[in-house]
């Protein structure tokens, strides 16, 4: 296959998915009695400076979340528990940082390590249960989500300080916060300093998966576990390590926000990023570059939709439908393209073998 057709088939599925999602969203908007053009003209308008900055910040968190999910997905491990892992990790890190045992930036560094550790341990439970007791990680991580979120609530209620009608962890000291970077002037707000974490994690992910023995084993296990075992991969160990890596990255998700203006873990904590991350990982085919664009798209839709509430009668929640449909459509489209390519390959082979036997275009069953 030439480069052009390779690029074409790689981009075909996401493009088809976005188009399908646009059509379905238009239908939904029209069904609620609003002209779809109103919706699209707002979504596709040029974002204000402030929104630009928000998109960058939000997409860094979504990117981290998707990366966490993707590590597991690459070896067929479904870590649905990113949500619980980052909630618990965020609470613990915020509580530690707020207590200010350490001075200034050292406090930030150690808090980040704690966030990684908590996320890794929480995900590790699911990994250990899988390899020692044969418990499906899908179910155990769903359960651990609920337990972790409840536990964070319980800890906050009992050890947090009163704040308004709710509770929060002790706010950070100013020396343990970053100022961010204001490329578009102070009115537009700051790009969080720890956005850099997302970039570093993306590069590390890419190197680990594509350039190391571990990454090779991980991908091999994902493609064929029996083949991996036959070539000497210790699958059980891989499962636990991959789960813990996934949880470790999950622990970092909310850290950019915490050290740049969130000050504390409390009512303002942004929940739900874990599930968004799963969706973006699927959208980006578990590749860092794909996830990068997926995260930007999701953050863009989220931020632009805020204007809907102010300027139209359309509910901003419609973008959630758009996002869900994009994910579903993209996986369907990938599957269709895969089947088409498999059938085309079969036809080519048949032709080369010079047989006149008719084929029905069916792929070999997996």
């Amino acid at each position: 296959m030439s480069i052009v057709s390779k690029v074409f088939t790689a981009l075909l599925a996401p493009l088809v998915a976005v188009v399908v999602a646009m059509i379905i969203t238009s239908v939904v908007v029209a069904a609620s009695g609003n002209p779809p053009m109103d919706f699209w003209s707002i979504i596709f308008s040029r974002p204000a400076d402030r929104v630009f900055v928000n998109i960058v910040n939000q997409s860094s968190m979504i990117f981290l979340s998707a990366l966490a999910a993707a590590i597991g997905f690459r070896m067929n491990l479904f870590n649905i528990g990113v949500e619980g892992q980052y909630t618990l990790a965020s609470y613990t890190a915020a509580a530690f940082a707020g207590a200010a045992f350490l001075p200034g930036k050292l406090n930030i560094f150690v808090s980040l390590l704690i966030a990684i550790a908590v996320g890794a341990i929480w995900a590790g439970i699911a990994g250990v249960l899988k390899v020692t007791r044969g418990v499906s990680e899908v179910i155990s991580t769903i359960m651990l989500n609920a337990i972790g979120i409840t536990m964070a609530g319980y800890l906050l209620l009992n050890y947090g300080q009163k704040y308004g009608s709710g509770r929060r962890t002790t706010p950070l000291e100013a020396s343990s916060e970053f100022q961010g970077w204001e490329p578009l002037g102070s009115a537009a707000g700051a790009v969080w300093s720890l956005v850099i974490l997302a970039l570093l994690a993306g590069v590390a992910f890419s190197v680990l998966i594509n350039r190391t023995r571990f990454g090779f084993d991980l991908r091999a296990t994902g493609m064929s576990e029996s083949a991996a075992v036959a070539s000497g991969v210790k699958v059980n160990r891989m499962v636990v390590i991959a789960m813990m890596l996934s949880g470790g990255i999950a622990g970092l998700i909310w850290m950019p926000a915490l050290f740049n203006g969130a000050h504390y873990y409390g009512p303002t904590f942004q929940a739900g990023l874990g599930f968004t991350g799963i969706a973006v990982a699927l959208l980006g085919r578990n590749r860092p570059l794909g996830i990068f664009f997926g995260a930007l798209l999701f953050a863009f839709l989220n931020e632009q939709s805020n204007r809907l509430t102010l300027e139209t009668d359309i509910s901003a929640n419609v973008v959630q439908i758009t996002q869900g449909v994009i994910v579903l459509a993209v996986v369907v489209a990938y599957e269709v393209v895969r089947r088409y390519k498999a059938a085309a390959e079969q036809r080519a082979v048949t032709k080369q073998l010079g047989e006149n036997r008719p084929t029905d275009g069916e792929a070999v069953p997996a």
Binding site: V28, S32, G33, F78, I80, L129, R133, G134, V135, S136, V138, I139, S140, I142, M143, L144, A146, I147, T150, M151, G153, Y154, L157, N158, F275, I278, A279, L282, S315, N317, V318, V319, Q320, I321, Q323, G324, V325, V327, L328, V331, V332, E335, V336, R339, E362, A363, P365, A366
Partner: protein, 419 residues
Amino acid sequence: MSTTVAPERSQATRAQWYARSWMAIVLGVLVAVSAVRIITGAHEIDSKGSLQAAIIATCPILMAAIGGMWSERSGVVNIGLEGQMILGTWGAAYFTYYYGPWQGIAGAALLGAVGGLIHAIATVTFGVDHIVSGVAINIIGLGAAKFLAEAYFKDLKSERGTGGVKQLVGLERPPSFTVPGVSDWASTLADKHWFVVSDLAAVLAAVTTRMSWVTLLVFALVALSAWILWKTSFGLRLRSCGENPQAAESLGVNVMRYKYVAVLVSGALAGIGGGYLALVSSSGFVTGQTNGRGFIGLAAMIFGNWRPGGILVGASMFGYTDSLPLRSTSTIHALLLLVAIGLIAFALFRLVKGQRNSAAVLAVFGLLFGLWYALTEEVPRDFTSMTPYIATLLVLAFASQRLRMPAADGQIYRKGSAG
């Protein structure tokens, strides 16, 4: 559940054996509960009110779990139950407002089935990974319910209900019934706090006083599902698609069609569960109402080993703990003793069977719960809301070797692959 029955036993004695062991378990539980109630003085653990609250909390979980069972018995994993349930809550509110409560339940089933249809198209026709599709359906269901609520409920205001951006409350409820005579008599007896007798009376009082007809419908649907899946040839074929679709297809079963039917029914049942939440558990639709109950349903299904009897037990247990936050903390504290007794009884059972290791582990846990009961005065409420999840994890960790899911569950099947 133990199934160590000698193969030479006939069908009839096997059924008798099952019935007898179930009777023994039920009786044992009853005596234990009653004893704990008398010892601790926490009469609320099985009072009429507690049991009613528990039944109301059980039904949505039960519907989701039975829905999951339908789907997984045909070989399609459905973790989109939560999303289908959410769609059901919206459907129930919309149809109740415009047509009436029974139409509301039908509307809940319809909206849930739409969620099921999406799942079926993605997984059965296009062969998308079942978990991936389920995750997407949960996102879509949540977003759609919020969007639809804002679009259709915002301006509603009449004697039939009051709408808002996130809710539609004050809806007409489906009818309920009280069995005259029996209800009062049983309630009086239950209030006497006698050993065992009052506990039985409380159960009778709970099911004869202000019992919603929808609750009956739910239990009828459970029985119907069990009958269809295990006693009809349709059910046999459907289950064969979940065990060995290639073999089923080679025998002329239209695997695709059976999977579609199963996933649609699955969505509809989950939708009814959502409808129950909106119309019976509360008096209207509020966004975020399901609060993860679809996932608890999934847990109840696994807990119940993909079988209706086990699911009933799992869903009741989870429903009971779900209703606990409404009770006083002393009641919850008394339950620790019950759990301790249960674990130790189970440990003895394992010991008799010669499984020393698991007996020891269970006994240690039992003693720990006993200590927890003895050394504390109350249990934090947050802990009780974690119970279903921790119980599921423990069951999976200790009994996953005994659980057996349908053999081809979660596998993607393509038509004609039987060769």
